[in-house]
């Protein structure tokens, strides 16, 4: 028999620290698979966040910089400007990218930085113990919304991918999920497309990945994937919000006007 599925080369051997059934591990692996598929392990510089993914440097065998909370896109900008020929990406959680780091992500995207930002949205603060995230859905309980997120008190979840996709510097923006195998495979395709946009030097690319947090949601891993499908997917709609073709048409239109 032929081995058809094994640990990606660009992953280290270290067991991951994530709680049982946390789909963050799936995302870590997908990124490594894409790095392998594109043959860019030796040309990749990853930027890590603060949050549950803070130890991701332990799991990828690539050059790595650890950023402060929310600042990964700024750090990635500094790296990419020094090494424009390398592949630079950040992995960030919802607190990192959609709360404390909104300034950095919006302006990196607006500048069209030729980097890739991978955003894990699990609608809660995992590392700090289950507090409300900017992406906590209305009604969802957390340790700081014990009666469920109240829209009058705490407003609405932030839809990052929709927001960022309207910026001209953004070439690719997609939201995917990893709650079942079919969606995991789609997620990998989106991550690969995002990296390819960067490899072609086209501009900024973003993939938001819906993920579970069984521990802080207070659910079993199997119930958690069901909860994600039922409560997150309807609000955070999956799909490609911006693709490179659109960018091309836009440039042609501008050129015609200018000409």
């Amino acid at each position: 028999m032929k081995k058809i599925f094994s640990r990606p080369r660009s992953m280290t051997d270290k067991p991951m620290h994530f709680c049982p059934g946390c789909t963050h591990g799936v995302i870590q692996r997908l990124i490594a698979e894409v790095i392998d598929d594109l043959g860019i392990q030796e040309d990749t510089i990853a930027i890590g966040p603060v949050g549950c993914a803070v130890f991701c440097y332990d799991y990828w065998d690539v050059d790595f910089q650890q950023a402060s909370h929310g600042r990964a896109p700024a750090v990635a900008t500094g790296v990419k400007r020094v090494h424009p020929d390398k592949v630079v990406f950040s992995l960030q959680g919802d607190g990192d990218i959609a709360a404390i780091g909104t300034t950095e992500i919006i302006h990196a995207a607006a500048r069209g930085e030729k980097i890739t930002c991978l955003f894990v949205n699990n609608s809660i603060y995992g590392m700090t113990g289950g507090q409300m995230a900017p992406t906590t859905v209305v009604g969802q309980k957390s340790t700081t919304t014990p009666r469920g997120r109240d829209r009058d008190l705490a407003g609405y979840p932030v839809k990052m991918t929709e927001m960022l996709s309207v910026l001209d510097g953004v070439v690719y923006a997609a939201r995917v999920s990893v709650h079942n195998p079919a969606n995991v495979l789609k997620a990998k395709k989106a991550i690969k497309k995002a990296f390819e946009v960067q490899l072609r030097g086209e501009g900024f690319s973003l993939v938001e990945i819906l993920s579970t947090c069984p521990t802080n949601w207070g659910l079993s891993p199997l119930d958690a994937v069901r909860w994600l499908e039922k409560n997150m997917v309807p609000y955070f709609k999956l799909g490609e919000y911006k693709v490179p073709e659109e960018k091309k048409h836009e440039e042609i239109a501008v050129a015609e006007v200018a000409g």
Binding site: M1, K2, R7, M16, F18, P20, R29, L222
Partner: protein, 72 residues
């Protein structure tokens, strides 16, 4: 004769059971054994029926499953 074969690294497995739901044939279950970390690892039953679709491995958050398949 099995078309596929999976190898579960029991020490990496955290017993989350996502693979049990991913297997289209329901061939994986959580065992009664404990691994070194105190988790009940997943195990395959009726391995002869495995088609090597790898969906269990696709869903595994701990990269604990390797899959082999008969070359078609």
């Amino acid at each position: 004769m099995a078309i596929g074969r999976i190898v579960i690294d029991e020490e990496r497995c955290k017993g989350c059971a996502l693979c049990t739901a991913a297997c289209p044939k329901g061939l994986i279950r959580i065992s009664g054994r404990l691994n070194g970390s105190g988790y009940h690892p997943a195990e395959i039953v009726d391995g002869e029926k495995c088609r090597g679709c790898a969906l269990c491995a696709v869903m595994c958050p701990d990269v604990a499953i390797e899959v082999e398949k008969e070359a078609s």
